[in-house]
Symmetry: C2
Subunit: 510 residues, 2 copies
């Protein structure tokens, strides 16, 4: 139907100027009608950083390196460091001193090629290359702050070279603690129990500061006092992902129900991201949420299982307790394994976690990871298959047959059942006594978030241009890794992009 131009059709034409009160335009920046408004600033710094994980710490460090005299960091939880402090502390650094010492040939370009493959066509190669190229700078920043790494490189899945560096204490706190200490020495203000509530903008939409609750206790949304913190140079959002926001993650993927716990710290609820979206930031890849197949339903959070499971998958079998049989290649990619585990359910559809069976002899090769799962009661030693069948209600005969079959595959060096790579099994048959653990996936990482450019500037969905005064880094941003992220690349990303945002805010306001 073609209408003549500019034609208004219908029986009514309403009068102009009907008048209304109490109405404001929804979108700041487009507003022409809303009066300017005064906020009484309670505090002020050149740079305000929301979040105290890798990205926030790197941003504050690099801002002070580039001349910032005053930086305020806020953290809503009682403990600093967020998710970064509790993760596995694995850090990809192509071209590191340790790689050179170990004669490993690697390059930023090679790392990006690996990442693009894992991103399945929708990663951002430009930002990935920026990150990989500057990984060595992030590594140097860590070393200068006193971070200690183990002398052994780790070769993780999907990487074409061993390039993962492990912190001496084998958690991310090995990085967050020294960086935090250094910032305190530099006079940076770090406030815990301070929740980000909203941005404060000028009428043109540029970010002037933030509204927070100081003295906030997680879960009590009325705790503490409202304060306004002014940022004379800019606000850097480093507030993390939304894995612990069950409603939000289920809006993206209805299979990520409450029964799927998260490896993340409880504070990863995404308010910072949502506030950026309301400011007009572009949401990218929010529906790509990574779940990890190496988690235990018998412990909270990240737990001890991931490191144990990753070590033991090659020479273990993962068994569906309903059938006594294997049901997936134990070395398939994260998504394949996690989906297979999720299909193990009882008659009522409730989770019925499968069990990973390992010879004790083989598991002992995993050193402290075995000690950890046994000590914390997320893994158990059982003397024989009969004991396993009784304890986990598995059909004994089927289980016996499965183990016999598996051991034959080990002999042949060929998994006729699921085509699992056998090169790492090295003749280790399944033999009593056994170590048994239960596995159930956990929500691990939000691939999506607010879109940034390679300078750490947050891009407006309307214009594609940076939103003035607003920067972001880390898991709160999205679109960098694509569909799936390789292990140990998050520390690289968060540190490099944090540093980048810290530099950009200083440069933009120089």
């Amino acid at each position: 139907m073609k209408k003549s131009d500019n034609l208004s059709l219908g029986r009514r034409q309403f009068l102009t100027g009907l008048g209304a009160t109490g109405v404001v335009l929804a979108t700041p920046g487009i507003s022409v009608a809303c009066e300017s408004n005064k906020v009484n600033w309670d505090k002020e710094a050149e740079v305000v950083v929301v979040g105290t994980g890798f990205a926030g710490l790197a941003a504050a460090t690099e801002a002070t390196n580039n001349g910032a005299k005053s930086v305020i960091m806020i953290e809503k939880m009682g403990e600093l460091g967020g998710n970064s402090a509790i993760n596995g502390g694995l850090f990809s650094v192509p071209g590191s001193p340790l790689q050179k010492k170990s004669n490993v040939s690697d390059s930023p370009e090679l790392m990006v090629e690996d990442q693009k493959k894992s991103g399945r066509g929708i990663a951002n190669p430009e930002i990935l290359l920026h990150i990989a190229t500057h990984a060595i700078d992030a590594y140097d920043m860590c070393i200068k702050a006193g971070v200690q790494f183990n002398e052994q490189l780790v070769h993780m899945g999907g990487h074409s070279a061993p390039r993962s560096h492990s912190t001496a204490n084998r958690t991310g706190s090995g990085i967050t603690l020294p960086l935090t200490e250094q910032l305190l020495k530099r006079g940076v203000t770090i406030q815990n129990r301070t929740k980000f509530l909203d941005f404060v903008t000028s009428e043109d939409g540029s970010v002037q500061g933030i509204k927070v609750r100081e003295g906030y206790y997680f879960g009590d949304e009325n705790s503490g006092d409202i304060k306004y913190i002014r940022a004379t140079r800019g606000v850097i959002m480093a507030s993390g992902g939304f894995s612990q926001n069950i409603r939000l993650r289920m809006s993206q993927d209805p299979t990520l129900t409450e029964e799927l716990r998260s490896t993340n710290a409880p504070g990863q609820t995404g308010e910072g991201l949502l506030a950026m979206l309301k400011l007009g930031a572009t949401p990218v890849h929010m529906s790509h949420i990574q779940i990890g197949p190496w988690a235990s339903p018998d412990e909270k959070g990240m737990g001890y299982m991931p490191l144990y499971a990753v070590f033991n998958f090659p020479h273990s079998i993962l068994v569906d307790r309903r059938t006594g049989k294997r049901f997936v290649n134990e070395l398939a990619d994260r998504k394949i394994r996690a989906d297979a585990e999720l299909s193990c359910r009882d008659d009522k559809g409730n989770p019925y976690p499968p069990i990973l069976i390992t010879s004790k002899k083989s598991a002992e090769g995993s050193h402290h990871t075995l000690d950890n799962v046994l000590r914390h009661n997320v893994g158990w030693e059982l003397e024989n298959l009969d004991a396993i069948a009784k304890r986990f209600d598995v059909p004994l005969e089927a289980l016996q047959q499965q183990v016999e079959d598996w051991n034959a595959y080990v002999d042949k060096g060929n998994d006729e059942q699921f085509g699992k790579p056998m090169n790492m099994v090295k003749g280790q048959k399944l033999e009593a006594p056994f170590i048994v653990v239960r596995l159930w996936p956990k929500v691990h990482y939000c691939q999506g978030g607010a879109q940034v450019n390679k300078y750490g500037e947050v891009l407006s969905a309307d214009t594609g241009m940076p939103i003035s005064g607003l920067y972001a880094a880390g898991e709160v941003t999205g679109g960098i890794h694509g569909v799936s992220r390789l292990g140990s690349t998050s520390i690289t990303e968060t540190l490099v992009m944090g540093m980048t945002a810290g530099r950009t805010v200083m440069k933009n306001t120089a």
Copy 2:
């Protein structure tokens, strides 16, 4: 690092009340500081509908059915109907009179099962069932408005029953025109060249109306005059997808570059969605954008190719001009075929569209679709393989061998090359003269958008609760179909959810 509660660390404590002017809180609704503001309303209606496609028309129809005395619909383009008016007009209706007449066994539940499969785990079964159950109501609404359907059901890919109803004129305008006429007769105001700019809200964040440009000319963002339209009951956003917003679609999928045209009307640029996100709506599945492998680079928009190609794929071969060989199963799913086509590029990486070669004799079975592609110069008759090789720069010998091989597969009823189903080929060998067309994918459908519940209420990302005064339906919403949508289900969705939103806005304000 564990900090004692409520501790503020650092060398500086800033004075409170530094004072600032010209600052407003970014987020309406959370605001406690922003003064109320007066908007002079230019017009008023009970219900304001943004968009004049299927969803908007259905919403206005059902609002008036449920007692709305005044409805204003706005359309930013000169022509009404948006994308809906130009699509193929295929409408899934499980349990329709035509199905009964044709003795087709079908049900809403069966349709939802098909859709869940296509949605690959992340569709919304609750809303899909609501839609499928009410498809018959949408069909009845069409019949009452005078819509005419063909007497032949269509069995489309991924559906387990023939349930697609085709409009008599074989485009969506067969539905949009009668619904529009009916609304005009009912006194509904329909304004073309009126661009939605923003929402107007009260201080509690509820939507009171919209800000528009009347007399707007697409592409001239300063054309026309700013007006405010008050909605006393609510605003229904039916503003469509964002396939034509190249920056936004590339932010989600960097492969959807400008060279990938869209089947969509040019106005599908997503401002309505972006304004909802700024109001706090939940973005869902925006990264899932469907591209269609049945499009031609030799015509704009939807064009004549899709119907021709869908008809001829079974008995044709799709040939990479660089090699003279087939490169994909011509009946694989949309994504597989589209990705394969996109890999056909010259040395510089520029698109090098593959050619679909069909015997003229077989193509003639497609009746008017052949006439259309020949008449509009998007397909050509060529007397032999030699002519094809010359015209499209294909290695002749390889092409001859490929045709010989293909014809042998036809004889055997077995595609040894790509495992294509041969049951529809029925002995039709490739023989001169030939019809040749070029194929290159086009962006077709945004699976993602703003999250709604099954009442058509828009859900806040912060709370998961409806945003007061705001409703949405159609392609501007997201998360209903999951990763991939089945053909002919969009009309069902947009009509049913439009009707639903029209009922809900009346019920909520009764």
